[in-house]
Amino acid sequence: MISSRQVATDTCWLELDSPEIADRAEWGQFVMIGFGLDHLAPPFLPRPFSVGWRAEDGRIGLLVRAFGAGSRRLAELRAREHVLLLGPLGRPFRLETGSRVACVAGGVGLAPFLFLAGDARRQGFDVDLLYGELTADKVFDTRLIEELTGGPPIVWTEDGSVGRRGRVTEGLSVEGPVTVLACGPTPMLRALAGRAAREGFDLQVSVEEHMGCGVGTCQGCVVQGADGRWRKACTQGPVFYASELTWSPS
């Protein structure tokens, strides 16, 4: 653990030293992070977090929002505390057809796109980064976003306290060949999936589910496939085509 800085209410940007992960991580992959077997308080089980950044010097960046007891403790990580990292894990996002990429990020769903948008732009892709939060105080330091991604995000807040007012999903336009990627709360993904089905565009989503092992052994992390069968979010995901999954209302 190298450094931690608070970048929004309850939200920290952690930089950790992990050459192996920095070296191998792909867009949308995640790590399991925990404190090891002597730590009985939350997080006792490691928690999955998207790789938000990787640097040549072996650092990786994680965007951590205090949600329950486990992530709160992680958001309070202090420099020189040691953590256990397992990764990189899971199936990454794939950039396809055409040269345009639209990333739709809800809340800390921003994390994988910090990493992806910068790389993709350097590779000549034309990237729109749509980033939504409920309120201004939750919005991740936009200067840091530009620094990491090489361009300004299009910020949306539901209360309009900063950026455009409304749901970030409204900001998505899909004229022409474009790869659409989304990461965020399930209701947001569900809404986008519905739209993708209606308007007939391909959508890749990164899903969230409780995890035990992160490597496919416990079958704890399932989401429902379009065929009704379960898929493991950790090894068959976390990135799926929206069309591969069942989007039960709830």
Partner: protein, 311 residues
């Protein structure tokens, strides 16, 4: 001096006393590359049933104080796919680590069918019969119903010459009674213990966190219950016992071994650190060195009770 960790049991030799617990190591392959599987004592596969099972809706796992709750629902590929897709990998990749197949069923005949269906295959040593399953004919669980357990163990015994280990359920008044029933009906050994029934509630949404409503509790939280139940089982019957529950260190494992276990299994701890089982083995070894004990077997059941105490 390098202490002797080998244990001769069930007619074979275990190179080390630590196995991976059922449901926490998939079918072995998932951990390949990540941990040195073949240096462990062995592993127990995820439960296998006659037909494939799809399992429970999410959430299936969550953290509890000092442990976790799970309700996977015994999701598994079923007998046929297990034999054709999973066993071959175990056969080809594990030379020294021993494999037990964890068996589940809804009726005595379903258990028997899994055992008879697998018995001719290669790649595993024996069976761990998971009796923490509802008996659709009897209503209760096999593991908490003396008559159903006796019938199940006797029936399975007739299907195989391989070692039959019965994995006992913890929520009974006296596990010794169930241990003796397994012994009388031909089991070769016991595993103690499976998870405790539990429940976790999301107070903000007023709903169970677990899709299945209830689940099984595992992890460090259950260590002292597991040690007690292992001691009780080991001292009330003469079968060898495999100790399970909350093990995350050599010291934890040695508590089970002193209580009477010949082998132990590590489950939840592997989620926190995939190297947990290997570390437990190393820590057992260094404890023996430190205490000047030549062989682990000297410690099995080596608990000394105060004179006045009665078991």
């Amino acid at each position: 001096m390098v202490p002797e960790l080998r244990q001769s049991l069930f007619g074979v030799e275990f190179q080390a006393p630590v196995l991976l617990a059922s449901g926490t190591c998939g079918y072995g392959r998932e951990y390949a590359g990540l941990i040195p599987l073949d240096e462990l004592g062995g592993l127990v596969t995820k439960a296998v049933s006659v037909e494939p099972r799809s399992g429970n809706p999410p959430h299936r796992v969550a953290e509890t104080p000092g442990g976790m709750i799970n309700a996977i629902g015994l999701e598994n590929v079923g007998l046929e796919a297990f034999a054709s897709e999973k066993l071959p990998w175990l056969r080809d990749h594990l030379a020294r680590a021993k494999v037990f197949v964890n068996v589940v069923g809804r009726t005595v005949e379903e258990y028997a069918a899994v055992v008879s269906g697998l018995d001719g295959e290669e790649g595993f040593l024996g069976y761990e019969i998971n009796v923490s399953c509802p008996n659709v004919e009897g209503g209760t669980m096999f593991g908490t119903d003396e008559a159903a357990l006796a019938a199940l163990v006797g029936r399975v015994r007739r299907e195989t010459e391989r070692p039959v280990i019965v994995k006992l359920t913890p929520n009974v008044p006296d596990i010794g009674i169930f241990a003796r029933i397994c012994e009388e009906n031909g089991a070769d050994g016991l595993s103690t213990i499976n998870t405790f029934p539990g429940m976790l509630i999301d107070i903000h949404h007023r709903k169970p966190v677990i899709g299945n409503v209830t689940g099984g509790i595992s992890g460090p939280a259950i260590l002292p219950m597991g040690v007690y139940l292992t001691w009780r089982a080991a001292t009330t019957c003469s079968l060898p016992v495999i100790g399970i529950g909350g093990i995350r260190s050599g010291e934890d494992a040695l508590q089970y071994i002193l209580a009477g276990a010949h082998l132990v299994q590590v489950g939840t701890a592997s989620f926190v650190d995939p190297a947990a089982a290997a570390t437990v083995q190393e820590e057992i070894s260094s404890h023996l060195v430190g205490a000047g004990i030549g062989s682990l077997s000297e410690l099995v059941g080596g608990l000394r009770l105060p004179e006045d105490a009665q078991a």
